[in-house]
């Protein structure tokens, strides 16, 4: 509750800060302050302090895992603003508004981690995505940005429509918006009550719209265009924090509901996982633009995260937290460098290591993490996903397919490393690379390595 209220309020504060000052540095500073406070206030909630007692009529339920995910999302946003704050300021003329929108997105994220009913889910998703439509079009004079924004808006509304339809069907079948009452299987007696057609149809529609939100194939077609067209700095935000929050909601939503779909669930989900992995990885191989490659790689990573949905056990829940954090760290790190480059193609990275060895090192760690090489957080993230799927049993073939495709992913991640280290060239930047930026990125790299050595460092917080 703390986080929802505070992030909404601070969003308003950010909006009006644009009137009070034109100094962009102050605005960025203000938003960093807001994020730090938000993080602190969210942690206070975990200890039960400053909670506004409000009867949500069971529409919301705050548990430790949700609060912990909030903390991860806020922390990742904080890092994102620290690393790329300058680029947010320089995207257009209204720096304050972008920050306000980012805070509103975070409000949506906090609702999504606490929803206990389908209506709150719908509200959370909408609050999270509507600001994104605007951020995607933030580069007003750029045709691609406009196109991406419109495309995102149309496709997003369409999937929202599907979601509403699903909610309506479920309401029609059960008479409730709650997600707790939907299980039709009676485990104690072993007798199964056949779920009604409406309920199954509703669940499938929900599944489809959630797949759309997390860009799982075959509902991924918007992703490359939107990620490519949006200003890179906002792509970074969309591909990490927003996407992870979508996943969190996805898993929370289907946690107790897979029984409704029965055996068809075990056909539907593996199919989606397989083609998401296939399309993401194979298409990423052929990209020449790093930005577009990262868009496809985010589809591929979504495929891996979907294993948590299949696993649906303790490992999956811990794993998705770890995955969200390490994937966000690495992707924010790479985007922070990419934004500063003039040329987004692979050649733009040529010779980076000779000019900025320190920067190249941190970027390499981020890339290794995305590829899932041991000693980085990405390894344990993937490890948890595979592990939870193997523990759940039944789809070992898919696990094998996933690791084969993970080997493919090495190909496109390492091409960036090759460009940085083994090719010669002179990278040109939009902005000078400051020492502070290099150290901040190094900090991200250190966090990734720490996660790769002791993933329990992060997960232990969760048990406190």
């Amino acid at each position: 509750m703390n986080a929802i209220i505070f992030s909404a309020l601070w969003g308003v504060v950010m909006m009006f800060s644009g009137i009070a000052t034109q100094n962009r540095k102050t605005i960025t500073g203000l938003s960093i302050l807001g994020l730090v406070l938000l993080l602190g206030i969210n942690c206070l909630h975990a200890y039960g302090i400053w909670v506004i007692k409000m009867d949500t009529k069971g529409a919301m339920h705050f548990d430790s895992i949700g609060l912990f995910f909030n903390a991860i999302a806020f922390f990742a946003t904080l890092l994102y603003v620290v690393l790329s704050g300058k680029d947010i300021e320089n995207t257009g003329v209204h720096a304050a508004e972008y920050y306000a929108l980012i805070f509103f997105v975070l409000t949506g994220v906090s609702i999504l981690t606490a929803f206990n009913g389908l209506l709150m889910l719908f509200l959370g998703i909408e609050i999270m995505t509507i600001p994104l439509y605007i951020l995607t079009g933030a580069d007003k004079r750029n045709l691609k940005s406009n196109e991406a924004s419109l495309k995102y808006f149309l496709m997003g509304s369409f999937s929202t429509g599907i979601m509403l339809m699903g909610i309506a069907l479920i309401y029609g079948a059960t008479g409730k918006f709650g997600i707790a009452g939907g299980v039709s299987l009676a485990p104690s007696t072993g007798l199964s009550v056949r779920p009604s057609f409406l309920e199954v149809g509703g669940m499938i529609l929900l599944f489809v719209s959630m797949c759309f939100k997390v860009s799982a194939a075959p509902f991924h077609f918007w992703t490359p265009d939107v990620y490519d067209g949006a200003p890179a700095v906002f792509t970074s935000f969309m591909a990490t924090i927003v996407k992870s929050a979508g996943f969190f909601a996805f898993i929370k939503l289907f946690d107790a509901h897979t029984a409704v779909l029965g055996d068809s669930w075990n056909i539907l989900l593996p199919f989606v996982i397989l083609i998401t992995l296939l399309i993401g990885n194979i298409t990423a191989v052929f990209q020449q633009s790093v930005k577009r490659m990262l868009a496809y790689s985010s589809i591929a990573q979504a495929g891996f995260m979907l294993f948590a949905l299949y696993g649906n056990n303790d490992l999956a829940k811990e794993g998705i937290l770890l995955y969200a954090f390490s994937y966000s760290l690495a992707t924010i790190g790479i985007f922070a460098v990419l934004i500063k480059l003039k040329d987004y193609s692979l050649d733009g990275f040529n010779g980076l290591a000779t000019e900025y060895p320190f920067l190249a090192f941190s970027t390499t760690i981020c890339l290794l993490s995305l590829a899932g090489i041991p000693l980085t957080g990405g390894f344990f993230a993937k490890y948890y996903m595979l592990s939870s799927a193997i523990k759940a049993g039944g789809i070992f073939w898919l696990v094998i397919a996933a690791v084969l495709l993970a080997a493919v992913s090495v190909y496109y991640y390492f091409r960036v490393i090759q460009a940085m280290y083994f090719k010669t060239g002179a990278p040109s930047f939009n902005q000078p690379i400051t020492k502070a930026f290099q150290w901040a990125l190094f900090g991200v790299a250190v966090m990734i390595i720490l996660l790769g050595l002791f993933p329990t460092l992060l997960l232990n917080f969760f048990y406190f």
């Binding site: 041991p374 000693l375 595979l386 193997i390 690791v403 080997a407 390492f414 993933p455």
Partner: protein
């Protein structure tokens, strides 16, 4: 404590080496570190208390993984081999110009740390960690300092091995879920309750990873290219030590965990290995490229070791232990000579060489000794190993022994052909101006030659050292 030192010394000195500014200080630091590691490795061989050879702390209790390092005879032997190889490699290239030397030697030491970790790990997850980490430094070394086609070739090598290790990782996770206590420790993995289908499937997941590393026909295609394009110092690491990772892993993680499947598929694997031996030998006979010739000869030797491991014969196991060490010594010696020749003449094509014996007598003597060791002539170190392996193979199946035996003859053919083409015949414009081998390389080779001959005359210490591993393997079968 010893196992930790073996990893930490190269790791820390390696990281420090990156910070050096001059090539000279980096080289000296690397050599010093390598010698220190050698001393510790030597100490581990003499050290008897088991407590000093084991290190165990909690790492990831939630997952059932502990950071466990343990040394048995085979670990000691391979750590010793790694310990000996690195100072020799550094000596051999000590006088050479290396661009951005601090980074080069830093990566080299890091790869040593990774290799040591592979040979020491007694927990499957730790093993997997080091298995991957040994690869990363080599990737950078080859891609930055390698030959013309280095980037593509190294990439192929990297993806090949990474693919194998990922398959192994899924196998490890699956296996640990079926082991008592869901642990990754080797003791509990051997007790995993598996059905026959599960066992056989997992066996192949593991074996493919190891076969790519060794490499076994038909998964060997990365190897000749990678050996040719890598800087020679790295080729020495790869062919001398890294291929042993595959053999080591079979002994440590495959045979004890899946004894039944190993027996079941022994014929398939021996068939593949023997095919690879003959195939590689025939190609080596046709090779005009010195480096590729040695690479193919290496495939042939590794094939024999792999075949011997699946015969389940005590003498074959013992032979593999000896041969792992001997092959490391011999092949590093051959690479040092090949590198010296290439640096001298600027070519690696046999057709452009000839008459070097007149110009470089020391080099000629050393090459002949190393060449004969490669053929496994009696009184050289590899004779004992090969003899015991063939003995085991013969007892297992006479036909395979006969077919594999052809490769002995072929080895003599291609090695002697190489010696003849390099050393004898008339001088030509390329070799006219050749001089003898540089002093540091000479010293390194001298040490290796001593090891070749001592190993050939008195291999008993090596047999005693690895006896416990062999005994443990026999009781499993």
């Amino acid at each position: 404590m010893i196992p930790v030192l073996l990893i930490l010394i190269p790791l820390i000195t390696g990281l420090i080496t990156f910070a050096f500014s001059t090539a000279d200080s980096a080289k000296k630091n690397a050599l010093l570190s390598a010698v220190a590691t050698l001393v510790v490795a030597g100490w581990s061989v003499c050290c008897t208390p088991a407590s000093a050879l084991r290190f165990d702390i909690a790492w990831l209790p939630v997952m059932g993984s502990r950071f466990t390092l343990e040394m048995d005879g085979m670990s000691k032997m391979l750590c010793l081999l790694t310990g000996i190889s690195f100072p020799m490699i550094f000596l051999a290239i000590f006088r050479q110009e290396t661009k951005s030397a601090p980074a080069f030697f830093g990566w080299m030491l890091l790869s040593q740390a990774g290799l040591m970790g592979v040979f020491l790990a007694a927990d499957a997850l730790v093993f997997y960690f080091f298995w991957e980490l040994a690869l990363i430094p080599v990737y950078f070394l080859c891609s930055i300092w390698g030959g013309e086609r280095r980037i593509a070739v190294t990439f192929k090598f990297f993806i090949y091995t990474f693919l194998g290790s990922l398959l192994m990782l899924t196998g490890i996770i699956y296996l640990s879920y079926h082991s008592p206590g869901a642990s990754f420790a080797i003791e509990s993995l051997t007790k995993a309750a598996l059905s026959e289908t599960q066992r056989n499937g997992l066996f192949w997941l593991f074996f493919i990873a190891f076969a790519i590393k060794m490499p076994i026909f038909p998964l060997h295609t990365w190897q000749p290219d990678a050996y040719e394009e890598s800087p020679t110092a790295v080729t020495m690491v790869m062919s001398g030590i890294m291929v042993k990772m595959g053999l080591y892993a079979v002994v440590r993680w495959l045979l004890p965990v899946y004894p039944q499947s190993s027996a079941l598929y022994a014929d398939v694997i021996i068939a593949l290995s023997v095919t690879g031996m003959l195939y590689a030998s025939f190609i080596a006979m046709q090779q005009n490229n010195l480096k590729r010739l040695i690479a193919y000869s290496s495939i042939a030797h590794i094939g024999l070791m792999c075949a011997a491991l699946f015969t389940a014969q005590p003498s074959a196991y013992q032979g593999v232990m000896i041969q792992m060490f001997s092959h490391g010594i011999n092949v590093i010696g051959l690479w040092i000579i090949a590198d010296a020749i290439e640096k001298q003449l600027g070519t690696r094509l046999l057709s452009e060489m000839g008459g070097l014996a007149q110009k470089a007598p020391t080099l000629a003597i050393l090459l002949v000794i190393m060449g004969l060791a490669n053929v496994a002539l009696p009184l050289t170190n590899s004779f004992i190993g090969e003899f015991m392996m063939f003995n085991g193979l013969f007892r297992y199946n006479m036909v395979w022994a006969g077919v594999a035996g052809i490769s002995i003859i072929l080895a003599a053919v291609y090695t002697l052909r190489m010696i003849q083409k390099v050393l004898y015949g008339p001088l030509n414009p390329t070799t006219e101006t050749a001089t003898d081998i540089p002093a540091t390389a000479k010293w390194a080779l001298f040490v290796l030659v001593v090891l070749v001959i001592v190993g050939g005359v008195y291999p008993q210490p090596l047999i005693d050292l690895t006896n416990d591993t062999v005994q443990a393997l026999i009781t499993k079968h």
